[in-house]
Each structure stands twice: as structure tokens, then as C-alpha cells.
């Protein structure tokens, strides 16, 4: 089974947009804490939870208790995406007569706990878990608590009780976003260590200062510590929690408040403020502009691919891009599914398998079984029935569905019906077959054209730029519409993969900011641009944005 990565990613993005829609319409609400737990919610609703939106109180459903109830928009939005109610209902958030109250409430189908008063959800979950045990039920209870919420003494009463009653049917996420209403948590009431200075990122960098996991360990819990925005880490942690016997599990998910919207990220101000309606469209575009880096390991030492995967993992790659060549569809041969199977245990990072092989429909199952999370096949060697078959195989195994086209190929007409459901489209910018080629310039125009076309056809996935992508052209590729970037010799071929990936991200961030400034200018001229830039209070963001404005010549 794959991670179901793209389905989670797309749903999380949609849910984030609904949070913006809801809080904007309400004029109040808590976007910050909704976004810090967005990926956790995504993994819950689109990977782990067993539920039936048509029968919200189905007895054997898994329960998700949102104890940090102020993040209710983050819950409601996922209930809408999961099918409990119409997405349009998000616009009734916090309004008179709405089922979507300011805090989670049984009025809304799918809500398992009336949150709001902090510190109660874990105790409530313990009651649920005890009841499940009495009844011999096998469903699981998941609870999300906040770090500010952990100031409440009752959280620790519950921590003792969960341990005493050996509740292995209970898994708790601590959304560790380091911010509470007044200020940074480490200033208000340290959970790790008192924060010295203003730089919140200091807490992230130095694992030696993290103490909250030790607190829970000393209470007898199985503690797992992860980056709470990385889907594969969440999935791995939950798998491990579900296998643990005799103790409940606590997943410390280190997160960023306001994650995915630059001006909200790490800014305590966005704990409980709704976006300005004028700014909301820019935020929605920003949510569409998230990008991913996929190092292609064949650009490294082919005799030690294990090490290349490890370098990519160390570099915090988003995907591991695996180029499979069969010596028929392309002249070269690289490796096949047996190799992928050997590489799989090294990491949970999604395997982005690019099949440059003939008759992929005959082999795709092997690549599913080898542990791919996304599988891309070439349009040149598929037709409607075979791609339909591939679609079904991948979907039933939680594997992402990708289609690739060579530089000389246009999207064949038969692909049209698959576009809304397609996860990834690789637009090759070199003739496939070997690493180290130069980017074909006409691909820019081609990507722009296809990107526009796909948007008109309700494409929800991402365009992946593959071939000759490097630091000199990655920004243009982004502006063309690509969102996933395969880096062969430009990343894996470099000495320091980690630094190179950071450099890629910097360039992409620059391109994204440029795009957003342009969009903002077209929406509201210089005044709106200034208003938007002023929101970027944390760190050096504002100065950097002003520099881009200067470059763009708007002033």
C-alpha cells in the first residue's frame, strides 16, 4: 500500500482553502492552529480513520477528538471534504443558526467532542477508550491536543490515567506549534525550555532543548517525535502507535502555526484573527503554490543507490524520484522493481516512481508491491483502456497516479477524461534516457500552455518538471506552472545535497513571492501590495518582499 500521498495533499490543500473561506466570511476564528494541524488532519481523514459520513454515529467508527477546540475550522473543513456536509456550508461558520459553531459542537455531524474549554479532550478520550475496551470494540481513539493547552493541569491528570489504564487504543497528537494566544509558548509557560531571544526557529534547530517528549515518556507513554507537516512521518508514527501494546501513544508533532501561508507562519498574531477579505484570494493562490523537491537518484552513484537515497533523505527531499528505464522505451537501463524493494526500508519519504518502460500496464503491480507511493507512466505507451486499468490498480492501493509526456509529445485526446483525477503530470524537458542533459527551452512555453489547459479541465494534481532543471531555471519552471521539481545532476550530482535542496527552496520561494506580488498588484494595485507585504512581520520576510517589489518595478 502507498501513502495515499497525493490524495492527502490535495485534500489538505482544499481543507486549508475552506478554512480561509470560513474564517473570512465569519470575520473571526482561528486559522493559525487550524493550519498547524492540517497535515495531521489529512492523514487522519484520508488515510487512517474508518468512518461513514452517511452514518456519523456508526458504532465501530474510529473517533477523532479535537481537544484544542479553537481550531474548529480545521476540523469542519475536513469534515466537509470528507463528505459529512456540503463544502459551501463552511461559509456559515460562526454565524447565527449555523451547525458550525465557534468551537466543535455535536450540532455538526462528524464532531466527536464539544471542545472549547481547553484541557478536557484527553480525559474525554480516555472515557471513550475505556468504553471501547469494556465492549470489546477494536476501533481506535485519536486525540489532538495543543501545546498551549498543555498548560492545563488536567492534561497531566489524563496523562497519568491513560498510562494507568494501559490504553493502547488511544493515540494522541501534540500539535507543537510553539505559539499560544499571548505569545510563544516558551515565554508564556515553557514546555521544552524557556525561549531566549526572539527567534522561534532556535527551538526547531536544537533537539537537545526539546523536553516535552521526556515529560510524556516519564508519564509512561509511548512517545514518537516527528515533523508534523510531513505526511510520511505522520503515517509512520501512526503505524507505530497502532502496533504498540500496553501503553497509549503520544506523537509530538512539531509544526508551524499558520503553515503554508507565509505571513501567518510563526506569527502569534494569527492565533485567532480572520483574514481580511481582500487578502483571502492571495492566500488561496499561495495555497496553490506549494512546491516539492524530488531528487533523482540515478544522477548519483548507480553502484550505491542506497547511499543516494540516504543523501536525499538527509537533504530533506519531499520525494525520492526513481527513474526506471527498461532499455526498450528508452535506450538505457537503470533498475527495476527489485531494486526499489531493496531501497524501500531506508525511508518513508514517498517514492516517486517514473516508469520509462514499454507496456507499463503489465508491470505496474510489481512497482506497487515494491513500495511506490506515486507511479508515473508514459502517455506514449498507454491508451485509454490500459491507463484506465493502471488508474484502478493505483487507486485501490493508495498509490498516486502520474502521467508523463516526452518533449515531442502533446497530451493525447484520450487523457482528457483522466485529468480531474490525475495526481501528477510530468512534462519532460529532456529526451528521457539519461541524466545530465540540458533543459529544452521550448518546454517553458509548453508547460505554460498545458498548465492553463489543465486548470480549465479541473486538474487538481501537480505538474512535475523533469529534465535539466537546475538553479538557473527552476524559478522560470515554477512560474510556468510546475510545482514538483526533479533534480538530477543539479541536486544529487552536487556534493552537499542538503544545502543544494535548501538553495532550490530559496529560489522557489523567491519565484512564489514574485508570482504573489504580481497577482496582488493585479487585484488591488500598489495599495494592496503594500497592505499584503505589511502582514509579513516575522523575520526578514518584509525586507525581502520589498526588494522583489523594487525588482519588479512596481514602486
Amino acid at each position: 500500500m502507498g501513502l495515499n500521498y497525493y490524495n492527502i495533499l490535495k485534500s489538505v490543500r482544499e481543507a486549508r482553502k475552506l478554512v480561509i473561506k470560513g474564517t473570512t466570511a465569519a470575520g473571526s476564528g482561528h486559522p493559525g492552529g487550524s493550519f498547524s494541524m492540517a497535515e495531521i488532519m489529512g492523514c487522519m481523514y484520508y488515510k487512517f480513520l474508518r468512518y461513514d459520513p452517511k452514518d456519523p454515529l456508526w458504532q465501530d467508527r474510529d473517533r477523532l477528538v479535537l481537544s484544542k477546540g479553537h481550531a474548529s475550522p480545521g476540523l469542519f473543513s475536513n469534515l466537509a471534504v470528507a463528505g459529512y456536509f456540503d463544502k459551501l456550508e463552511m461559509e456559515t461558520l460562526r454565524k447565527f443558526g449555523s451547525r458550525l459553531q465557534g468551537h466543535p459542537d455535536f450540532k455538526c455531524p462528524g464532531v466527536e467532542f464539544c471542545g472549547g474549554s481547553l484541557g478536557l479532550g484527553l480525559s474525554f478520550s480516555i472515557g471513550m477508550a475505556l468504553a471501547a475496551r469494556i465492549d470489546g470494540k477494536t476501533h481506535h481513539i485519536y486525540t489532538i491536543i495543543g501545546d498551549g493547552e498543555s498548560d492545563e493541569g488536567q492534561v497531566w491528570e489524563a496523562a497519568m490515567a491513560g498510562s494507568k489504564f494501559r490504553l493502547d487504543n488511544l493515540t494522541v497528537f501534540l500539535d507543537r506549534n510553539f505559539i499560544q494566544q499571548d505569545d510563544y509558548t516558551e515565554r508564556v509557560m515553557p514546555l521544552d525550555e524557556e525561549l531566549v531571544g526572539d527567534d522561534i526557529s532556535e527551538m526547531w534547530k536544537n533537539a537537545a532543548r526539546w523536553k516535552v517528549g521526556d515529560k510524556w515518556r516519564s508519564f509512561g507513554w509511548n512517545v514518537i517525535e516527528i515533523d508534523g507537516h510531513r505526511i510520511e512521518q505522520i503515517v509512520k508514527a501512526v503505524h507505530s502507535a497502532l502496533q504498540t501494546r500496553g501503553t497509549p501513544s503520544l506523537i509530538v508533532a512539531r509544526t508551524i502555526k499558520g503553515k503554508s501561508v507565509e505571513h501567518m507562519e510563526d506569527n502569534p498574531k494569527w492565533h485567532g484573527v480572520a483574514p481580511n477579505p481582500k487578502i483571502s484570494p492571495i492566500i488561496e493562490l499561495e495555497l496553490d503554490c506549494q512546491f516539492l523537491i524530488a531528487p533523482s537518484i540515478i544522477a548519483g552513484d548507480m553502484s550505491n543507490l542506497e547511499n543516494e537515497v540516504k543523501r536525499a533523505v538527509h537533504g530533506r527531499a519531499d520525494f525520492i524520484h526513481l527513474d526506471v528505464m527498461d532499455g526498450q522505451f528508452v535506450p538505457n537501463k537503470t533498475f527495476d522493481h527489485e531494486k526499489i524493494k531493496q531501497l524501500r526500508p531506508i525511508t518513508y519519504i514517498p517514492f516517486d516512481t517514473h516508469l520509462m518502460i514499454s507496456e507499463p500496464v503489465k508491470h505496474v503491480r510489481d512497482y506497487v508491491n515494491a513500495g511506490s507511493d506515486i507511479i508515473t507512466v508514459h502517455a506514449e505507451v498507454c491508451d485509454e483502456p490500459s491507463f484506465g486499468e493502471i488508474h484502478d490498480i493505483l487507486r485501490s492501493n493508495d498509490v498516486g497516479l502520474g502521467l508523463a509526456i516526452n518533449p515531442e509529445t502533446e497530451l493525447p485526446p484520450w487523457t482528457e477524461k483522466f485529468i480531474p483525477d490525475l495526481d501528477q503530470l510530468i512534462i519532460m524537458s529532456v529526451v528521457p534516457g539519461k541524466s545530465g542533459q540540458k533543459y529544452i527551452e521550448s518546454t517553458h512555453e509548453k508547460t505554460q500552455r498545458i498548465s492553463k489547459l489543465l486548470a480549465e479541465r479541473n486538474f487538481q494534481g501537480l505538474i512535475e518538471a523533469d529534465g535539466g532543471v537546475d538553479l538557473s531555471n527552476v524559478e522560470s519552471c515554477f512560474l510556468d506552472g510546475a510545482r514538483v521539481f526533479v533534480g538530477g545532476s543539479a541536486i544529487v550530482g552536487q556534493k552537499d545535497v542538503r544545502l543544494t535542496i535548501m538553495e532550490f527552496r530559496k529560489h522557489l520561494m523567491h519565484a512564489r513571492r514574485k508570482l504573489l506580488i504580481n497577482k496582488t498588484h493585479s487585484l488591488g494595485g500598489q495599495e494592496l501590495v503594500n497592505q499584503w507585504i505589511d502582514l509579513h512581520e516575522v523575520g526578514k520576510k518584509k525586507t525581502e518582499l520589498l526588494q522583489i517589489v523594487k525588482e519588479a518595478g512596481f514602486t
Binding site: 467532542f113 468504553a131 469494556i134 493541569g153 491528570e157 489524563a158
Partner: protein, 321 residues
Amino acid sequence: MTEFADMRTVYGETLVNIGDENPSVVVVGADTTDSLKTKQFGKKFPNRFFNVGIAEGNLITIAAGLANEGKTPFASTYAAFLPGRCVDQIRNAIAYPTRNGKNGLNVKMVVSHGGLSVGADGGSHQQIEDIAIMRAIPNIKVLIPADTIAVEKLTRLISQLYGPFYMRMTRSKTPIIHSQEQEFQLGKGIVLHDGSDCTIAACGIMVQMALDAAYALKQEGISCKVIDMFSIKPIDSDLLEKAARETGGIVTCEEHNIMAGFGSAVSEVTSEKYPVPIRLIGSRDQFGESARDSEISRLFEKHGMTSIHISNAVKDIRSKK
């Protein structure tokens, strides 16, 4: 000779009996399970008994989680801590959650050591605010039994009725007032003694004092109607209105602050339905203090809560009519 019996013992025995009949019943305690006599339920049904330690907020919220899953939890400790310690949890985890027309979660909060009669433990442990607290929270029903017959019948009753209940018992042994055949209905007062000159409405251990006062007044030719108003919320407003019409005045008796307590509840009804003079017997906005069992009558004396005070209040009302 009046027979006395222990409320907690009867409560514990009743729980065991109910536990046999109703597998949904579970019991949650907070390090007072020996004192509350719920421990015997735990001996008989170890899988349905949870001691969460000295953590009343946790006690209440775990009970709420159990109720959410279809259990009928009885959560018990001393009144000083429940509701004293955990009003927020009672309000938000038990009273507030409402779905499919069921108001609040099905938790039974049954406590002991209500009021001044706690005695030696002192003012910190003498809960005289619980009626006010619990009455003010929507969806919660409030019961104060006067004797062990009431304890047994009401424990059974609330195990069968849906919704959050608060029931307050007394630390010390109480005289048996009701007969075994007495029926208890939610929201219905019980007329123990009929009379025409004045009504004395009481709850809990004050019912016996009300009867004592009525007996003394009878010797002086004053005829009092005495009502056991064990159901404080919902309250029997029909019976109170009728009593107001028939007797023209009411004296209320509670082991509680007169502010926002039982007397206030009676006044709310009569002031709207049939205003008559009312006198409230109870603690007058003052904390209690330590008193050994032999001294508790002096503590009540100090707070103006004896049968003589009740008699005087009746006479005062009659003089105003």
C-alpha cells in the same frame, strides 16, 4: 424511636444491584471510593469500575467520555470537590453536549458530604454552594434525598432516566422519614404532613427539622403543610403554587447558602405563579466551621438553621398575613 441509616451504604448497595441488572452502568471514583461505598461495585464489576485518583476534573470528563459511548457512569466523591472543584468540566463536558434531542451526556454525579453537617472537617469541606452552581447549568437535574429510602429509589430512578443528574447525600446517618412504599417521581414533591396555616418546604436533612417544627407548631395550634422537595430541579411548581394558595406563606429550609439555592428556586416559582410571603432558612452567606458530631447542633444554631428557627419563621409569616 426514630431509625437512622447511612446514605452511602445504601447508595453502594443499590449500585451493585443496579450493576447486575444494567450492564451499561459503570462507576468512576476519585480516591474516595471506600468512603462513598462504591468500592464494592468495583469488587463485583472490576472491568466497569475506574478510580482516577484525586483528580475531579478528570473524573468528570472521563465519565463524560464513557457516557458518550453509551455507558451510564456514576461519578462520585465529596460535594466540596464535585461540583466544587470541576464546574467547567461539568458544564462543558457533561451538560453542554447535546445531540439527537438528548440534552447533555448521561452522567450521574452522586456526591456525599453536602452542607454544614460535614462537621469536623470544617468550612473548606462544607459545600453550601452546590445547589446554586448545579441549578444554574442548563440540562442538569438536581436531587437532594432526605433519607436512605429516597437514596435507594432515586439512585434507581436516575439510572433509568436519560440525562445528567446531580444528587447530594449527607455524611452522617439520617433518620428514616419515608416508607418503603413511597414513590419518587422526578419533579414531584412529597407532602409529608398536611396543614392549612403555612407551608414548610425542605430538602435533605432539613426535612426532619421541618417535621419537628411542624409538630411543635401543632402543639401551639398552628397547622403546617410539610413538603419534601427532594427534586430541586426540575421543581414541582404545581405543588408549590397549590401550597401557596392553600396556606398563604412558605418557609423554605436548606443546608445551603440561601443565595441562589433551594429557597431561591421556590421563590422563583411562587413570585411568578402566586406570590405569598416567604422566609428562607439556610446559611446566610457565611462559611461553616469545624464541629464534632456532638457539636453540629451548635453549628446549625449559629447559622440559624434549627427547628426553632423554622417555627419562628412560620410565626413571622403568620403575623404578616
